[in-house]
């Protein structure tokens, strides 16, 4: 059990430091034996703090910080979607495609047909995900960096097409769209979406279905040797992941009341990846945690003017170098361990 030992001496004798894992008996990853309320709390508290904390935030923050929180939720959902697609072994640098597809579909439905957000958001979610999945179908065979490069280029191509053909308002985009009722509705809608993605994806990855996705990340060929059509599973993964991205794109269209080519901007592709790397990939909580660090930090640094980006980038490098496993993964590991001194002589 003890992993790392350090030693110290004082007048009473020698000590060494012993690090132990927490005493919940784990039969495997998914089977625990809870023997007391304390142990139950030990598992429940971190989850409860996240849920209750986020639900309270809009009540205690002022309007400006509530907007920052909404932005953090938006990036969190894109990061969760990225992490989900990455858990199936696909490295996407094209989250902006999902975001923009959802955004434009909602904008077009609202601008030309006057549909209310009640309809545009669900339709844009499903239709956006379908479009994105179809666009990626030809490149599902590519792996690693090659897949990443194609996904990176896809939103940039769409921007050029919109600019060249001047459809959907061209460069100016579509404006004066129907707003969401008020800030409360917006705030709690994104919070609900973040929870749905976070806990939904986690549940999915723990199921036998998620097992196939995790297998694809480890080894495509062994999954195929197991008689599983990996391209069908990859397409499903992309659909689920891009549905999350398209939903939040559609949401932002109505939240900003405008949709333009900036919906396909590189920020929406890169920032989710940065959040996941800073927070820690692989367990979704890290991706969300990263978004709730980076987005508020970026806004907070606005006060220092043009040095903002320099300091922001510098901090990001520090995060990645100092805690390469991700801040959330580090905290989780520490939470499951405790240290104490043992007398040795």
């Amino acid at each position: 059990m003890a992993k790392i030992r350090r030693e110290k001496k004082d007048s009473n004798g020698k000590y060494r430091k012993e690090r132990l894992d927490r005493g919940i008996k784990a039969r495997s990853d998914t089977i625990f034996a809870l023997t007391s309320y304390r142990e139950a709390l030990y598992l429940v508290v971190p989850r409860a703090v996240t849920i209750i904390g986020l639900l309270i935030l809009p009540l205690v923050l002022d309007i400006w910080w509530t907007k920052v929180m909404i932005m953090a939720c938006v990036i969190a959902i894109l990061a969760l979607s990225w992490d989900f697609i990455a858990s199936a072994g696909m490295l996407s640098l094209g989250q902006a495609l999902f975001f923009g597809a959802g955004g434009y579909l909602a904008g077009v439905l609202n601008y030309y047909w006057g549909l209310s957000p009640l309809y545009t958001i669900p339709i844009a979610t499903i239709a956006g995900a379908t479009v994105c999945t179809l666009l990626f179908l030809p490149v599902l065979r590519l792996r690693g960096i090659y897949f990443a490069m194609v996904t990176f280029a896809m939103p940039l191509i769409l921007v050029r097409i919109i600019e060249a053909t001047r459809i959907w308002g061209g460069i100016e985009g579509l404006s004066a769209l129907t707003p969401l009722p008020n800030l409360w509705v917006s705030a709690y809608l994104v919070i609900a979406a973040v929870f749905a993605c976070l806990f939904g994806f986690r549940r999915l990855m723990d199921s036998d279905y998620g097992l196939v996705l995790r297998g694809m990340m480890d080894n495509d060929q062994a999954v195929m040797a197991g008689g599983i059509n990996i391209y069908w599973y990859k397409a499903q993964t992309l659909f689920i992941g891009s549905a999350a991205g398209a939903f939040i794109g559609a949401f932002m269209t109505h939240y900003y009341r405008i949709v333009g080519t900036s919906a396909f901007s590189i920020d929406y592709s890169i920032l989710p990846v940065a959040c996941t790397v800073v927070g820690g990939p692989g367990n979704f909580a890290g991706a969300m945690f990263g978004a709730f660090i980076l987005v508020p930090l970026c806004e907070y640094l606005r006060a220092i003017g043009s040095w903002r980006i320099v300091l922001y980038s510098f901090l990001m490098v520090i995060f990645v170098v100092a805690v390469p496993e991700g801040i959330f993964n580090y905290l989780e590991r520490k939470y499951h361990q405790f240290e104490h001194w043992v007398k040795t002589g």
Partner: protein
Amino acid sequence: MKDDSFLKITGLSKSFGGVEALSNVSFDLKQGESLGIIGPNGSGKTTLVNLITGFVKPDSGKVFFRGKEITGKRPYTIANLGIARTFQMAKAFHHLPAFKNIIIPLRSPRVKTFRGAQYGERDDIAIDLLEEVGFERDSAVPLKTAKSLPHGYLKRLELARCMALRADVIILDELFSGMSMSEVASTLPIIEKLKEEGKTVVMIEHRLRELFRVVNCLIVLNFGQKIAEGSPAEVMGSEAVKAAYLGSEE
């Protein structure tokens, strides 16, 4: 085309760039027979397996299974038809516990067609299978992460994956390489049992003594060519085989 042969290969060839990995190899296998494939390193044994199981597409030649052509079909399609393989370099899902590795083939369309395999106790089936290939249940070996297991276990995990698919043809690509003597001794009866159950076993193997206990016919490859075919005794007496392994006297 109707054919009574079970697994039949005609004139299979494959080149990688300028290197001819396999040229014009044919064989014909009846159900329940077992075939050994031997040959020096680089003679095209693994390429042959890759061509049969669809991981690599042949340049020319055809593969028939149960009288139907399966040339160039996708690996998962072929696996679902009932041809399972192991990999020479064990390809486990390293982040998953060993028994979860077996859940993946248990989710395949093929397995779902068997009675009682559609729902329920996949975990139990997986752990039973692993116990069958020698994962000690009492010391919780099936629950360990694959990356923490020794090489011999990973090779047997490959075998368990083929058994999970309930394949009719099981192709073992150097299953015994990297296994200890005792592991080989305990794995051999499993393969013999599969044979008794009527499975068709194709074995690529360098350990000839163990190979000859299982197979009743043998083909020898050298530089992508089939240089001998027949019963193990016939083949090992052939001059061409001796020349390939030991070098000819000229």
